[in-house]
């Protein structure tokens, strides 16, 4: 009666199962509490056979001691426990993380299924407990009498994915920090450019020009600020307008329009354009009068298959607008428009200057 089933050519057990089935067969079950496999309860035999035959990493724990069986697919990630631990109690298997696993086993033995995604464990595979991640499902196995007598485990190791994601998150955070650092360094460099210009040109007679340069540089820096908020990919049109006009007094402007995201190039040209318009308004237009105001509004309109962005600048409450005789760099900056390629009309009316700038939305939004 030592091994009739194991040697029975008609009903071998386990029937299939590769190396782990061999390991199981080679065990001397005489002194093992489960005894000869031929006399194992049918549910245990079925469960073990399912596990051994599967190509997916699986394990069975059985009985109060949770005697443990696994398959070839699981073997490589078990380290030094394979093949010696085949048939051993779960406690001998997982002593290094017993406290973490006990609640799982208790729940499953109470009839519940426990599913954990990317759970962190510290299995001892080669002599040292080491962090590893697993997605696993522990579910009950019932004996013939309907009581839970074992646990069925399906598991996949996700350590490389979890670690890769963690590395990626760290790299992204570093990138973010680096971008911010770079943005600040750019602003610092603009300050140095500002100081160099000032000190180089301080004997030049036309100090007004030196000042204009400084202010344009400041407008450029304000555009950088807005762009830095979103990693230099895009900016809200309202934020860009606010940034460009902030130094001229917020209460002098009425901004209105839908949320529109614009690209970095349009952010720079729009900032410089608004800066020039506001500078002119402060010198000759609505901002020279105490009650003068500027309405800045924008709309997006569908034009066939392409949307058009239209931005309008209208000065009211100041002197009549008069077209300047001389068109300098400031005037050219204004005529650059939203994308740097025009689409601007200026109307010098008795009520004040009105400017309309139009461009296809996709051009405004591209990098």
């Amino acid at each position: 009666m030592t091994d009739p089933a194991l040697s029975d050519p008609h009903h071998p057990f386990p029937a299939v199962g590769g190396g782990c089935a061999e390991t199981l067969r080679a065990i001397d079950w005489t002194d093992h509490p489960l005894g000869d496999p031929i006399r194992w309860p049918a549910p245990l035999k079925t469960a073990v056979q399912i596990v051994l035959a599967s190509g997916f990493p699986m394990m069975v724990h059985w009985g109060p001691e949770l005697f443990t069986f696994y398959n070839d697919a699981y073997a490589p990630s078990l380290g030094r426990k394979h093949p010696g631990h085949m048939g051993q109690p779960a406690r001998a298997w997982w002593s290094e993380m017993w406290n973490q696993l006990t609640p799982v086993f208790d729940q499953v033995l109470a009839g519940k299924t426990v599913f954990v995604e990317n759970g962190r464990y510290t299995p001892d595979r080669d002599g040292v407990p080491k962090e590893a991640f697993f997605t696993h499902s522990h579910s009950p196995i019932w004996d013939v009498d309907g009581r839970v007598a074992g646990i069925f485990l399906v598991v996949t190791e996700t350590t490389s994915e979890v670690v890769a994601k963690r590395d990626r998150d760290v790299a992204n955070a570093q990138q973010l920090l680096l971008n911010e650092e770079l943005a600040h360094r750019i602003k610092n460099t603009l300050s140095v450019v500002q100081a160099l210009a000032q000190q180089t040109l301080n004997k030049v007679e036309d100090q007004e020009a030196v000042r204009s340069f400084g202010k344009r540089l400041t407008a450029l820096a304000a555009a950088h600020d807005v762009l830095t908020r979103d990693q230099w990919s895009s900016a809200g049109l309202g934020d860009v307008a606010k940034g460009a006009l902030a130094t001229f007094g917020e209460d002098r402007f009425v901004l209105s329009g839908p949320d529109v995201i614009i690209g970095p190039r349009a952010t720079l040209s729009l900032s410089l354009m608004l800066h020039e318009l506001a500078t002119n308004a402060a010198k000759y237009g609505a901002l020279t009068a105490p009650d003068g105001k500027v309405a800045v509004s924008w709309t997006v309109t569908g034009d066939g298959d392409k949307d058009m962005l239209c931005l309008s600048w209208s000065e009211r409450g100041g002197p009549p607008a008069i077209e300047p005789a001389r068109k300098g760099f400031g005037s050219r900056l204004i005529r650059m428009g939203l994308t740097g390629s025009g689409g601007v009309t200026l109307s010098y009316g008795p009520e004040g200057l009105t400017v309309e700038a139009t461009a296809p939305l996709y051009q405004v939004q591209e990098a």
Partner: protein
Amino acid sequence: MGQSQPLKRWPVLIVEDEPILRIDAISMVEDAGFEAVEAMSSADAVTLLEERLDIRLVYMDLDMPRSRKGIEIAAAIRKRWPPIEIILTAAYFTRESVSLPERAEFYPKPIDRFEIVDAMRRLMERPIAEAEAPAT
């Protein structure tokens, strides 16, 4: 003596570790009509303030990586020498992102030098600072 000289060149302390920006700040202070005193770090600044009791205005760059956090130094100056006016600048911060000491003014980089010169003159005209200036 101060009362008889309305154009007294009061000293202004510049705290700036970037040499080009320091040169520019010195010229701003001189354009505003004051005497420039330089410090290259916040530690130097505190030492100078301890020695020069006539300093009435500090112009400080908050972006000094080798120094203690600039904003903390500014707060310490406000606490230790309440009458001293403070003008701050930075590239690393915006006006919204720093909590300024009381009465301190902030100008983001790159600064508009005319704005700073105006601010220096305006702050130095404050009567409270005049009244609390040390007698000579």
